[in-house]
């Protein structure tokens, strides 16, 4: 039996569409596909003063490859360095200097490690001096920050990008009358980027890594946990990369990777806001139609992967955080029908009225915070539970309490009322996100990057279709102790 919460869903769909109940059917997204294969998703909202614009390439850190962790993230950074037009002062001279820099980098890479051979050490010193000279010259031939400056002086904001496992996203918010600027700047950097200032950018990424991983309470522990969980799959690498791997990445290698991945048939653009769809249908081919379709074969449709987990594994990790336990199970990738049952299951566990808060936080008072999440990736999925210990509660007690919750979930279906409330809350939270045009644009990009934007419009309906028996079945099928990884996060011992 399937639950129905139709009246709320009708309203939610109307809200997401930005129209009245008559416009309630779904997100009224118009699709446009250019001759070169690039896809556009258009969601006009005439009342808005702005346009949210972005594009996604369906290549991210999972495609970095062996020994090249961080490559896609580095490309993402280099895409802000301008193009043959933006940032160029004397392009011909600059390209010559950049070519010389690449030659010097290749020669440096071919030398024996420092201290091994005196001749190489002397040569290294010469080459380093040459590299410094060339860098200084290259800097004279470019306008740094020119790409951001063009957007800034147009009043644009939220200019940013993210590299995720399966995709890389680029987006910005513009005043409505500046939408053509976006077409120009984005097609320009896709068509003719110049990867300037590569070496300083590696330093920037080292600092980003320090900021996001080494200096967050659970950053390093989370990274170790992820690496252990996804071992043997493309998701085991670090999106940010590590200094040693980044050091070996030169401009020609990045350029080859860019040309292989950033092809129009792997790109989807999303526009939400006050634009004229007819004008966009004219602008899209005029600007992005310039990108040539590549002859290389399409790499979409890779098969699902699953971490090879046959017995429970336990990891003890140090963190600068409150003691907590993280439990993760392999589940299903994006698009799998069980995904929505797992999301409903997470909904049942989360929130102030959810089971985890009710039982572990308020009831037994052994947890300070508790959270569950189903994360769908393109080729895999995972269900994660994070429980933060209250006071001195032993972490093993939290694991036992969670096992008790799983036993309840698998022994009997949840009461229909309880599930319905959770589904309503999920629908409300979904709506909260989609009400914001910026997040709506970004969610469309993420769904497009995962392979299909359409479930986004139907998400509350799909989650609401989960019946109590479906939740019970999903818990039984996926929350199996022999397949899980358990991370015990404990504060590092204080120095004496």
């Amino acid at each position: 039996m399937k639950c129905r919460i139709a009246p709320l869903l009708t309203l939610l769909a109307a809200l997401a569409a930005g129209g009245g109940p008559a416009a309630a059917a779904a997100l009224p997204v118009e699709e446009l596909v250019l001759d070169n294969g690039m896809r556009f998703l258009l969601l006009p909202r005439p009342g808005m003063p702005t346009v949210e614009a972005g594009w996604v390439v369906d290549a991210g850190s999972a495609a970095d490859g062996e020994g090249a962790a961080g490559a896609h993230h580095l490309i993402e950074h280099m895409m802000f360095k301008g193009s043959r037009t933006i940032g160029a002062v004397d392009l011909e001279s600059e390209l010559y200097v950049l070519g010389r820099l690449d030659e010097v980098a290749a020669r440096l890479a071919a030398l024996r490690p420092p201290g091994e051979r005196r001749k190489d050490d002397l040569r290294r010193a010469e080459l380093e001096a040459e590299r410094r000279r060339l860098r200084g010259r290259a800097r004279e031939l470019t306008r740094l920050g020119a790409f951001s400056f063009e957007y800034s002086r147009a009043g644009a904001t939220r200019l940013d990008a993210n590299t995720a496992e399966d995709m890389t996203l680029y987006y910005v918010t513009l005043p409505a009358e500046k939408v053509e600027l976006w077409f120009w700047l984005e097609s320009d950097r896709l068509g003719a980027p110049v990867f300037r200032e590569l070496e300083p950018e590696k330093g920037v990424i080292a600092e980003e890594r320090r900021l996001r991983v080494a200096s967050t309470p659970t950053g390093a522990a989370d990274e170790a946990f992820d690496r252990a969980f996804w071992r043997g799959t493309p998701y085991a690498g670090s999106a940010l990369g590590r200094d040693a791997e980044l050091a070996g990445m030169d401009r020609p290698r990045l350029r080859r990777l860019f040309e292989r991945e950033y092809r129009p048939e792997r790109l989807t653009a999303v526009l939400v806001g006050a634009f004229d769809p007819a004008a966009v249908r004219r602008l899209a081919p005029a600007y992005f139609g310039r990108l040539p379709r590549a002859a290389a074969e399409d790499v979409r449709g890779e098969p699902p992967v699953a971490p090879d987990r046959r017995a429970e594994e336990r990891l003890h990790l140090e963190c600068e955080c409150a003691a907590q336990v993280v439990i993760r199970y392999p589940t299903v990738p994006f698009g799998h029908p069980d995904q929505f049952d797992l999301q409903a299951l997470a909904g049942l566990l989360n929130g102030r009225a959810g089971r985890l808060h009710r039982e572990l936080v308020l009831g037994r008072e052994i947890a300070f915070a508790a959270f569950a999440q189903q994360l769908p990736l393109r080729r895999a999925g995972a269900f994660t539970v994070r429980l933060e210990a209250k006071g001195g509660t032993p972490l093993a007690e939290l694991v036992a309490a969670w096992d008790g919750e799983v036993a309840r979930l698998t022994a009997a279906p949840p009461p229909a009322d309880e599930l319905r409330r959770a589904q309503r809350r999920l629908a409300t939270e979904h709506l909260e996100l989609l009400k914001d045009p910026h997040f709506l644009m970004r969610r469309l990009l993420v769904y497009a990057g995962l392979g299909d934007w359409r479930p986004l419009a139907r998400w509350p309906e799909l989650v609401a279709a989960t019946a109590p028996a479906d939740v019970q079945a999903a818990a039984g099928r996926y929350l199996r102790p022999e397949r899980r990884l358990v991370g015990f996060y404990e504060p590092a011992a204080e120095a004496p």
């Binding site: 309203l11 400056f149 147009a154 009043g155 200032e197 320090r210 200096s215 409300t428």
Partner: protein
């Protein structure tokens, strides 16, 4: 202003939603004990005389309404967002939550524990820890120097009775109520007045003014978790009524508060020298009833700190000595004017900006107001403002260094 109720409404097109904001003019700035206003504010979503907190949460979930209560330095705030069809109910709930909160002892204790946990989080977050060190250095005894949660000692000194009493006083300090969305403006305004006036308290005595801003030692070192150093440079600048504020806003964009990596500091520190992932700048951050601040911040390796500080100082010096170019001024003006439309997109934003206009006495909700402030400023006037507020010779500095096992600040 004591005890006065001010109501604003606005019909907003687009999605059929409504946003209600209730602001009591009694924030942490006037709290007798640090953390008091925040705890009192958060109790507004913890149940009323008529409904328990569980019932409030369940009713809200059933109707697709979200409720959030908190406090800032100047106000205690209650926010309700939901479908426009629930606007009437949101008014009723808003009045019930704001005028008759239960102050249940058990829930109050839970909120105190939450505040303590948040303070622990700050101690685990290197940027937040260094940032609060900087604010302490800059503002001295003024409440802006401390987190809204107060500190463990001040929280330990509070109890539910004192919290309830402070909230009763807050009700007499004045209230702003705004509602925006797919509504009938006049009917909604009348309903708001009728419902909220019923709970009005006699005007309270004006609260004591907080101690003045008094910056401490010019250079301070804070020990941090993690392995990245943080550098904060700055000084107190102007409050929101100061005529120099529009000029400082333009100068902030020139320095790097614009889009992406635009601006002098990101270009120098990140793009050219690769010293840091972020190089943030603001010239009047947090300008409100009390002065805002010039703040330049970067997170970097400790070996690079001196280079970052030198770059920051040199760029400020260049700005003060050479001023801005006509192209930079035009671009900064264009950026700020372009931003204005982003502030009035949704019902939620309209509800907040109307409340802000009532609070500040400035027509921040009027679309042309910002442009009228920035438009007339000349390069010479910006040079004078830069000289007054951005001179690198008069800065306070907080350096946060990875502690490597040493005791933290």
């Amino acid at each position: 202003m004591g005890g006065r109720l001010r109501v604003r409404t606005r019909a907003v097109g687009g999605a059929p939603v409504a946003a209600l904001r209730v602001w009591l003019l009694a924030g942490e700035r006037h709290a007798a004990t640090p953390g008091q206003a925040l705890l009192a504010g958060r109790m507004l979503e913890e149940g009323t005389a008529a409904r328990s907190w569980r019932r409030v949460a369940r009713d809200a979930e059933e109707r697709g309404v979200s409720i959030h209560a908190t406090a800032g330095y100047e106000v205690i705030g209650l926010a309700l967002d939901g479908p426009a069809t629930e606007a009437e109910r949101m008014i009723e709930w808003g009045a019930e939550l704001a005028l008759a909160p239960a102050f249940d002892a058990e829930r109050w204790e839970w909120q105190r524990e939450l505040a303590l946990a948040e303070l622990e989080l700050i101690r685990d977050d290197p940027e937040a820890l260094a940032g609060w060190g900087f604010l302490g250095q800059l503002y001295g005894p003024h409440p802006r120097s401390r987190p809204l949660q107060g500190d463990p000692a001040s929280l330990a000194g509070l109890d539910v009775a004192a919290s309830r009493a402070s909230y009763e006083q807050a009700l007499g300090a004045g209230m702003i109520v705004s509602l925006a969305g797919a509504i009938d403006e006049e009917k909604a305004a009348a309903r708001l007045r009728a419902r909220f006036a019923a709970g009005a308290r006699p005007p309270a005595e004006p609260p004591a003014e907080p101690p003045p801003v008094a910056s401490g030692e010019p250079r301070r070192t804070v020990a941090l978790p993690g392995d990245q150093a943080h550098l904060f440079l700055g000084r107190p600048t102007v409050d929101r009524d100061d005529p120099d504020l529009p000029g400082l806003e333009l100068l902030a964009v020139v320095l790097g508060a614009g889009a992406g990596l635009a601006g002098r500091l990101p270009a120098r520190v990140r793009e050219r020298e690769g010293l840091a992932y972020t190089a943030r700048v603001d010239t009047a951050a947090g300008a409100a009833a009390d002065p805002g601040r010039l703040v330049l911040h970067a997170a970097t390796d400790r070996e690079r700190l001196a280079r970052v500080e030198r770059a920051f100082r040199e760029e400020l010096d260049r700005l003060v000595t050479d001023g801005v170019t006509a192209a930079e001024l035009a671009a900064a003006r264009s950026f700020l004017e372009g931003q204005e439309c982003f502030r009035r997109e949704t019902a939620r934003q309209w509800a907040e900006i109307m409340a802000e206009a009532e609070l500040t006495g400035h027509p921040v909700d009027q679309p042309g107001w910002g442009a009228a402030r920035w438009g007339p400023l000349t390069i010479a006037e910006l040079a004078a403002i830069a000289e007054r507020w951005l001179d690198p010779a008069g800065l306070w500095v907080t350096v946060g260094l990875p502690s490597e096992g040493t005791e933290r600040a």
